[in-house]
């Protein structure tokens, strides 16, 4: 007994001594050597491979260590050639891809046409369980390597053919004129041989062809990326490297930023938005991102498809005071939506402010009239389902319901219906088990109007959880995809979007901004259209 207490006293004395030295050295901040940026990060949900990463945390890393055929300009969002020298087509269906000379992976391996074709075949094959496999769905032969039921009957995509070291051809299963513009998505990145030789080893320290290399990676905790000096591209890193630190709670990350312990927080917590401007001044950025939030309806429920119900949906839309909610709850980090796309597309890309018309403007009297004309809300009450574990969904759903109740003059016309976890919420939505409206969010994969419309509202599309279906809409989308002239294609997509304005299968709520704050040590910080910091441009003082 006596011995044990002695040992404890000794341990305590040691810890106190350690604390004293820590206090002395605490002022140096987060910088380990000059020129290294420290940034907040979240633990990626999936293994860090290109065709398996579908969320923003893993996407941040892929954006640093990979460069694909195309890359979206962080400022304009336009798809520019990166590793590709040219991608040519005559019929919007057969494409010839030529890649630039001189590109290598950071381990020295030369990048050839095969690096792409093999990676895409890997990503598409059912046996590899890649969550982004459907991105290869436009390529001919996808149904053979990734059948909806049963075993795959082919090993590779028949639509991909290597011509020589620097050329390969792609044949799509249908016309899709803007297909090259989708190639900036990380799923289309090339992979080195090392990946196939030892996937486990590669995953613990990924090797790519981007401006950074992975120096060390402690899963679930920290990743250190360093500048790749021999990087062949034009967008060389402007800093010595980036240390990505995993934070469980973005409030802690924000506190660390305030204490000078961290350089960059790319997700300012909702609770701190009010203070962020005062705390950080112009070191707080708030820029549009390709994210739209909507309220979706169940078209698998006959109550909602009856003629006249579109009036009810339009009425509900008009009962939502978007201005007020975005201002008071989101502190202007959201902008009231008036179409089904995003401002980051730009007018040329298909964004059209006010396409939704009066139906997306607040008008309580008109809202009440429309809901009555349409036969009232089915079941007398609108349930709005959301997941309560992330974001501040509870706050805005309550505010939205409050706004609807006030406009319709009924106390219980709209109620929030929280679901415990995101996984459970998604499970219910994708299995058509929700019996009211629900929050639906869409973060674009690539800056094309097609990406906002087709996956969400095309008949039986992967994210069309409400099972909305309209023949004319489908016809126009197909027509737009086959159109080789981009401006014409965009116009046709907008015609399709006008059908949404009539039918209101989902109510546009607001466009989401990306927000970030940074320390005085760094400059030239910006966010791209995916609300991911443009790490390679950050300069350290």
């Amino acid at each position: 007994m006596g011995g044990a207490t002695h040992a404890r006293w000794a341990a305590c004395a040691v810890t106190v001594a350690l604390a004293a030295t820590a206090c002395g050295g605490g002022g140096s901040g987060g910088g380990a050597g000059s020129g290294i940026v420290s940034s907040s990060w979240g633990d990626p949900q999936n293994p860090l491979e290109p065709a398996n990463t579908n969320e923003v945390q893993g996407g941040k890393i892929l954006d640093m260590i990979f460069r694909g055929l195309k890359r979206y300009d962080p400022r304009t969002g336009k798809a520019e050639d990166m590793v590709a020298e040219s991608i040519e087509t005559e019929d919007a269906r057969n494409f010839t891809v030529t890649i630039k000379d001189g590109w290598t992976f950071s381990n020295g391996e030369k990048i050839t046409a095969k690096s792409f074709v093999d990676a895409w075949n890997y990503g598409a094959h059912l046996d590899n369980n890649q969550k982004n496999a459907y991105f290869f769905g436009y390529i001919e032969g996808y149904d053979k390597v990734h059948p909806e039921k049963g075993e795959p009957s082919a090993e590779t995509l028949s639509g991909l053919k290597v011509v020589d070291d620097r050329t390969f051809t792609v044949r799509l299963s249908q016309k899709f004129s803007t297909w090259p513009d989708t190639l900036g998505y990380p799923a289309f990145a090339p992979l080195p041989k090392a990946f196939y030789d030892d996937r486990e080893a590669w995953l613990s320290k990924p090797v790519g062809n981007g401006p950074y290399t992975v120096d060390s990676y402690t899963k679930g905790s920290q990743m250190s990326l360093r500048k790749w000096e021999e990087y062949p591209g034009d967008d060389k890193a402007q800093n010595g490297g980036v240390d990505m630190r995993v934070y469980t709670d973005n409030n802690t990350a924000y506190t660390d930023l305030m204490a000078g312990n961290l350089d960059l927080v790319d997700d300012v917590p909702a609770a701190q938005l009010k203070n962020a401007k005062r705390d950080l001044g112009d070191r707080y950025i708030n820029t549009p991102a390709g994210i739209i939030q909507t309220l979706a309806f169940p078209f698998y429920d006959s109550e909602w498809t009856k003629p006249g119900r579109e009036k009810v949906r339009r009425g509900i839309s008009m009962a939502i005071n978007r201005e007020q909610i975005t201002e008071t709850i989101f502190q202007k980090t959201r902008t009231p939506a008036s179409d089904w796309t995003s401002p980051v597309l730009g007018a040329d890309g298909g964004f059209q402010k006010g396409l939704c018309g009066k139906a997306c403007e607040y008008d309580a009297a008109e809202a009440r009239k429309l809901v009555e004309e349409g036969g009232g809300i089915p079941g007398g009450r609108l349930k709005v389902t959301y997941n309560a574990d992330t974001g501040s969904h509870k706050e805005w759903v309550d505010a939205l319901c409050n706004s609807v109740n006030k406009a319709l003059g009924k106390d219980k016309a709209c109620i929030g219906d929280p679901v415990g976890t995101f996984a459970d919420f998604r499970g219910k939505a994708s299995k058509q088990q929700l019996d009211g409206a629900w929050r639906a969010g869409w973060q674009m994969d690539y800056p094309l109007i097609q990406n906002f419309l087709e996956p969400n509202y095309f008949t039986d599309a992967p994210s069309n959880d409400g099972k909305y279906s309209d023949e004319e809409f489908d016809r126009l989308v197909n027509e737009a995809n086959g159109e080789t002239d981009t401006a014409k294609a965009v116009g046709t997509f907008q015609d399709a979007e006008k059908i949404l304005a009539e039918d209101m299968p989902a109510i546009p709520l607001w466009y989401q901004n990306g927000s970030a704050g940074y320390s005085e040590r760094v400059s030239d910080v910006s966010l791209n259209q995916f609300s991911v910091p443009v790490y390679d441009q950050i300069k350290v003082e």
Binding site: T218, D424, G441
Partner: protein, 307 residues
């Protein structure tokens, strides 16, 4: 003694099975975990089916449980959704949380018992009242408030510590989080020791010891304290488990990547393997800590004997 330990170890088996089964069922009731893996879109059905097969989710729950338990006995705790082995997650998380718990327990013992003895011996004096009031305040303020206030004051305002703990989580960085984690228990330990000491001060054996002419120091440490520590040891023993499992709040505030972090993430992502694995180990820690407490009784109090 040996037979007693064996009996207790055997009793652990049903408790262990019951606890893991309950956790297993609870996580399963939460719905389809694969649906959350594909973000705001539906996983394509073929891939979803493959993933379910890979994680064994396509089988009935009882079969999943049996397979899982079978694997656990061979040391295989399964794979989390991000492709990491759960044992790998454990080997990263447990050392951190054990260090944090150790710091907390040391605080409890050193500060809690010292204050308890001090106030117990000076009952009714100003120092006693002051400490009692202080413990009352500590008990009534929730941990996250104490944590956030200390973090803001020490970390941001005065710059004495870093607001968050680095990924290596050495002992010196865990001092403040450890104190926060220990705060409420510390107050209880103080109060328990105080009451116990105050009660035993009038006991016959203490009077005898004083009458024998033993020095005051020896009376207090050898006779009074040793006998008064029994309830305190029970409390601290059960607290080990509670601290390890209950560190979620503290670990979140100070960004410590320990057991609480893994559990929280496991629950959010509905990763059955992670949650059940970690809770299983926590259940074991609870059971072993309780056994050690019971054995310590015999050391502290000669009247207690285990046949």
């Amino acid at each position: 003694m040996g037979r007693y330990v064996i009996r207790r170890l055997l009793q652990m088996i049903p408790v262990f099975i019951g606890a893991t089964l309950l956790i297993f069922l609870m996580v399963n009731v939460m719905g389809d975990p694969v649906a959350g893996l594909c973000g705001d879109r539906k996983c394509d059905p073929a891939t979803a089916l493959r993933l379910k097969k890979e994680f064994g989710l396509d089988k009935p729950v009882w079969q999943q449980y049996l397979t899982y338990m079978g694997n656990v006995f061979t040391g295989d705790f399964g794979t989390a959704f991000n492709g990491q082995k759960v044992t790998e997650l454990m080997s990263a998380a447990f050392p951190v949380t054990i260090r944090l718990t150790l710091v907390a327990i040391v605080f409890e013992i050193v500060i809690g018992i010292s204050l308890g003895v001090l106030t117990g011996l000076r009952r009714g004096r100003p120092i006693d009242t002051a400490v009692l009031l202080l413990t009352l305040v500590v008990i009534s303020v929730p941990t996250f408030v104490t944590g956030l206030v200390l973090q803001l004051l020490l970390g941001v305002q005065w710059g004495v510590i870093k607001p968050s703990v680095s990924s290596e989580a050495p002992y010196d960085e865990l001092l403040v989080p450890g104190l926060v984690l220990a705060s409420v228990s510390l107050a209880y330990v103080t109060r328990l020791t105080r009451t116990s000491i105050a009660e035993n001060r009038r006991a016959d054996y203490v009077r005898t010891a004083i009458a024998k002419g033993l020095p005051r120091r020896r009376v207090i440490t050898r006779h009074l304290l040793r006998n008064s520590l029994i309830p305190v040891v029970t409390f601290i023993g059960t607290d080990v488990g509670a601290l390890m499992g209950g560190a979620i709040v503290t670990e979140r505030i100070f960004n410590i990547h320990g057991v609480g972090f893994q559990l929280y993430q496991g629950i959010l992502r509905q990763s059955t393997q992670t949650v059940v694995g970690f809770v299983t180990v926590l259940v074991l820690v609870f059971l072993v800590a309780n056994l050690i407490v019971d054995l310590l009784y015999a050391v502290l109090d000669p009247r207690i004997r285990y046949a």
